[in-house]
Symmetry: C3
Subunit: 230 residues, 3 copies
């Protein structure tokens, strides 16, 4: 393994083979780090965190000349709360905050400037874009795509493979980018599709495979393509 | 590399750089293990298996306080049959059985208590949830999501990015969880969506993008949202 | 690290921990290779390329007895142009060409015999199948599935989680496999579904969640399931 001398580790940590921990990383007590984990410079890991094989924490954002969204210059370090479980083959970026007791499944990627609230679950292979806020006790199931500039309130349930978008004009340079706003307790069925800037009301239910083209009121059920009240 | 002294390897194996093989692993003859592979304790690998880079075999299940499905206490080891090919960046869990000559693409994850039958193909990035049975000569194409508690019989074809669900009430605590039952020879088009507990009949054809809300009879073709007979 | 003596590296390269570079690899000047990267035999990497952790370059194709598409015997090496950025946990196959200034996101996999044109962006978790041509300044957003035998012209925009297919008879052995042909400047909304052999006209717009069952004329907008002119 390769641990930078400026990194700090708490008591009772277990560290596997071929682990890399870069400079100024801070790791709490009783953290379990499996084989082949890479923790980039400055990342902060709370107590009782479990990190599985082939996971990368604290990746710096990057872009090419074509991309609209350039990385923000100065981000705070990736910060992981106490009791978080992180699966295998995960990528978490610098500049995000993962609250206590969150569960992050295998093969997840979460970009910069994302907040994930306490006890939320981010399912395997889920993809979370930048500048997105996910509340407490939210379930984002396996294979979901959460676009940038999105707000998901507490207790929301996203079924498997839900997709969203945030750019009405699809890279034509018009308009602002705004992801959906999903209110407390809403439930979205698997493979549902949300158009940009949609608000999903509190406790609304979106059917599996629905294509939501306009706002959905609180406690309303919609299904179909385009989605209509049931 | 790091190979535990209690692990056993057959004749003619090739092992790459930075490989980790934990205690009590049993590996057959003529197995090829590429660089950066991790094989967790107790895993059994048959003859002539090929394992590509950054793959993790035998991962133990985990959960946080919010998750409904807790790991089963005592599972048997991950068991991989003869002649299996496993791609790169794959995660296979402890407690599953992969039969002879199966092909598992890159970036796949398969959870615990899953059976995959002889000569089946699990396409790249596919996600398979726990307690699911996949028959022989099944094709699960790239990007599919196979939910928990699902049965897929022999010779079924799932096109790319098919999605399913198993929880009609979406985490509200009502009802049992049951995935779909897909009978012999059924073919599902790409991006099809299945609601929970649906039965797809033998040799049925589900159109691309169809949203299947009720059972489909044998040898029937359905398309649309909701899916209807063509 | 493990670098084969037949590999060549340019000036000013930075190489992380636990990197494997196999025989006859050619690496240009000022290339940055993060920890745990594997570069397979013969791969050519241009100047100023950035490769992030857990990425595998130059993977050889494989198949089992059931799979229709067998690997082509003699492919040229994976060739990566100048100024390309490659994310973490990426798999790129032998026999593909990535042009200058392309951006490839985390967790992407691109198969053999694929060309990606200058300044194009392949979003995170995207999956690209063999024998596919992607033009210049194309955007393939996060989670897209690009099937085999597909042509995507310059300036096309694929929103998140677009899916395609190339096999009308779904592995029944009838017909040829042909993916879609997507003409210059077309824009596809998130979660759109394309049936096999479809042509999408230049500057056409496909709505989010649309299921495209027949050709779409130039500069036409279609939405719904099945997709119809708006």
């Amino acid at each position: 393994m390769s641990i930078d001398p400026t990194a700090t580790l708490g008591n009772g940590c277990e560290i596997g083979e071929f682990v890399v921990i870069e400079e100024d990383v801070e790791i709490g007590d009783n953290v379990t780090i499996d084989h082949h984990v890479v923790i980039k410079a400055g990342t902060k890991v709370g107590d009782d965190v479990r990190i599985q094989a082939f996971t990368l924490l604290g990746k710096q954002p990057a872009a090419n000349k074509k991309m609209a969204r350039k990385p923000t210059a100065a981000l705070f370090p990736l910060t992981i709360g106490a009791g978080v479980t992180i699966g295998s083959h995960v990528t978490l970026y610098h500049g995000s905050v993962i609250a206590d007791e969150v569960f992050i499944g295998d093969h997840v990627s979460i970009r910069e400037e994302v907040e994930v609230g306490r006890r939320s679950v981010i399912g395997r292979h889920a993809m979370v874009e930048p500048k997105t806020t996910i509340g407490q006790s939210v379930t984002v199931q396996t294979g979901c795509y959460v676009t940038a500039d999105t707000t998901i309130e507490d207790f929301v349930f996203l079924g498997p493979c839900v997709s969203m978008s945030n750019d009405k004009y699809m890279a034509s340079g018009k308009g602002v980018h705004t992801g959906p706003y999903i209110k407390k307790g809403a439930k979205l069925g698997n493979h549902a599709t949300l158009l940009p800037s949609i608000t999903i009301g509190a406790d609304a239910v979106i059917g599996a495979g629905a294509v939501v083209t306009k706002d959905v009121a609180d406690s309303t059920v919609v299904v179909g393509n385009p989605a209509r009240r049931k």
